[in-house]
Subunit: 339 residues, 2 copies
């Protein structure tokens, strides 16, 4: 199957694009299987919202088609959504019908920094609660900015920073930037900078694009947006107790954030300390009605949190589904539902 | 559980609202179970997109919680989407966490009529393909307008008509109305009228709100938007072969439309003729990659189309799911999957 970059290359010149891009050049099939997301999920949604239908080979070797090209359907069980995010354990996805979007008429970017992470996150909450159609909003804490300055030889002000991207009409993006600037000002935001020309947007966003190279060992979770500010403060306080270098970066518009921990992979002590921080992070996330993984599936490392997040009974329903569709456990055995 | 109207009453004064309202004052639980939709699904989505989590009692009497308040999650099978639309056959929904939206700053309405249904529908296609965040767009054919004139003693121009509603900022809704007027003009649209004051909006939309009282015996389907114009012309041609009075009205922004057939319920001949027209309508919809029901579930009357729409193999996967979660067939037996 095409990767998301290949798909967008194919679409070149049509005026359409596929918005979801998890970063690495993922295949559309893998993105379906892991219910992948993107930094612009706040506007366009994740694979959950953007897959209209699938072709799936079942464990019994049958080929089924789920969904259709219709934008909505209420006929029968939602098999599409069942296979999206099932990580190959219920069937093998061989084709996908995805939703395309028109290229926005105008794109603009804005960067603004804040006295505290709390101020930055409250700005995001207020923006989202106004239902502003922001395409992306990313936050970085001061530790992250410091790492980027060191890695990229940049001289950004070391302060919690928000990166915005707006899609819309010319007047629409100007209006969005204006509104965000006003909201940010109410939370001590300063050095507000915005740009519409591609080269200026690239300059503004360069730091954000390099964040992942500057950091390693990301842990991602997702939260109800209303609890995010408090949660991020608590997490920062917990991370500060460790001698390990930690950074936070998040697609905060949809409550999603990453914690990065720099450690020496050879050091058992550092690995154990990082795992313990991660366990506390996940416990706090789930206690606050969040999820241990907002993006790209459960994988192996997070399977141990499945019961804490879903409860034993819901996990048992998942096991019933797995046994019903794959009684001989042929499909990606041992994933999603612990055997 | 609250109905959608009760929920919106509870929200009064908070600045928030729940956008989905299928018309009759449906309960939120029933709306979850039938994956209900609304005339504004083009902007806000259906219950599929707006239920974040559920509490469900299983056939084994266990209580499970699906999803969370986080806006996105990629952890495990999407049980929320499995129960949404399952019509009570997989579990009993007792609680739902739904997404609320801020009341739009401004709302405006527009009405415009066209030389032909084809022109009207092409206007909608172009509007949607521009990714305009239209909140509602409804179409009515000339037969429907005629029925409304008779029923409401109104004197609307008897022509295919589009009704738009825009939500956004003051400048945003003005810009949307302006763009729609330009698109409509390119397809022969005339008598363009738009209003922002609530009383003027009500006047413009009065005809639309009475459409359902003026018609009876609705059949609803949903189509890929790109095929809608051709499809509606074919359907009108087929309906015109009948002596029965037929009307079309649709939430065309998401490819959804209703066909209404007036008949004497005592007349076996008229019922049979209407059923045959309906069968041809569904066959055309499915052949064009659409669905026999875009809204509010399968129910009893449409169950016979399940195999035509999904294929025998996909239907058999649905049956496996039903048997896995409800082996004794206790929950709403005989629905969704024919026994």
């Amino acid at each position: 199957m095409l990767s998301c970059k290949q798909l967008n290359n194919e679409l070149h010149g049509t005026g359409l694009f596929f918005p979801i891009d998890p970063g690495a050049d993922a295949s559309i099939g893998g993105m379906c299987a892991t219910r992948a997301s993107s930094t612009n999920a706040v506007r366009y949604g994740t694979m959950r919202e953007n897959v209209l239908g699938l072709t799936v080979v079942t464990a019994q070797g049958k080929i089924i088609h789920t969904g259709s090209r219709a934008r909505k359907s209420s006929v029968g069980y939602d098999l599409t959504r069942l296979f999206v995010g099932s990580e190959g354990t219920l069937g093998i996805i061989t084709e996908a019908i995805v939703k395309l979007y028109p290229q926005p008429e105008a794109i603009s970017a804005a960067v603004v920094n804040f006295p505290s992470v709390d101020d930055a996150v409250r700005t995001v909450i207020e923006t989202i609660q106004m239902c502003m159609p922001v395409a992306q909003v990313e936050t970085m804490d001061d530790m992250m900015i410091q790492a980027i300055n060191a890695y990229d030889k940049m001289s950004l002000r070391v302060a919690p920073t928000l990166f915005f991207e707006f899609h819309g009409s010319e007047t629409g993006v100007a209006e969005q930037a204006q509104t965000v600037q006003e909201i940010a000002a109410g939370h001590g935001g300063q050095d507000f900078d915005w740009a519409t020309r591609p080269e200026d947007r690239s300059r503004l966003w360069a730091a954000r694009h390099n964040a992942y190279f500057a950091g390693i060992n990301m842990r991602a979770g997702c939260m109800p947006i209303s609890r995010l500010a408090e949660f991020i403060s608590e997490t920062r306080a917990d991370l500060n107790k460790s001698a390990l270098m930690t950074m936070m970066v998040g697609h905060v518009g949809d409550g999603n954030f990453h914690v990065m921990i720099r450690l020496d992979p050879e050091s058992t002590a550092e690995r154990e300390e990082a795992e313990a921080m991660n366990d506390r992070l996940v416990a706090r996330t789930i206690a606050a009605d969040g999820t241990c993984t907002g993006e790209h599936g459960v994988g192996i490392h997070k399977m141990r949190f499945m019961e804490a997040e879903h409860g034993a009974e819901a996990l048992s329903v998942m096991r019933q589904l797995k046994q019903a569709l794959d009684p001989d456990n042929l499909l990606n055995p041992g994933k999603i539902v612990p055997n």
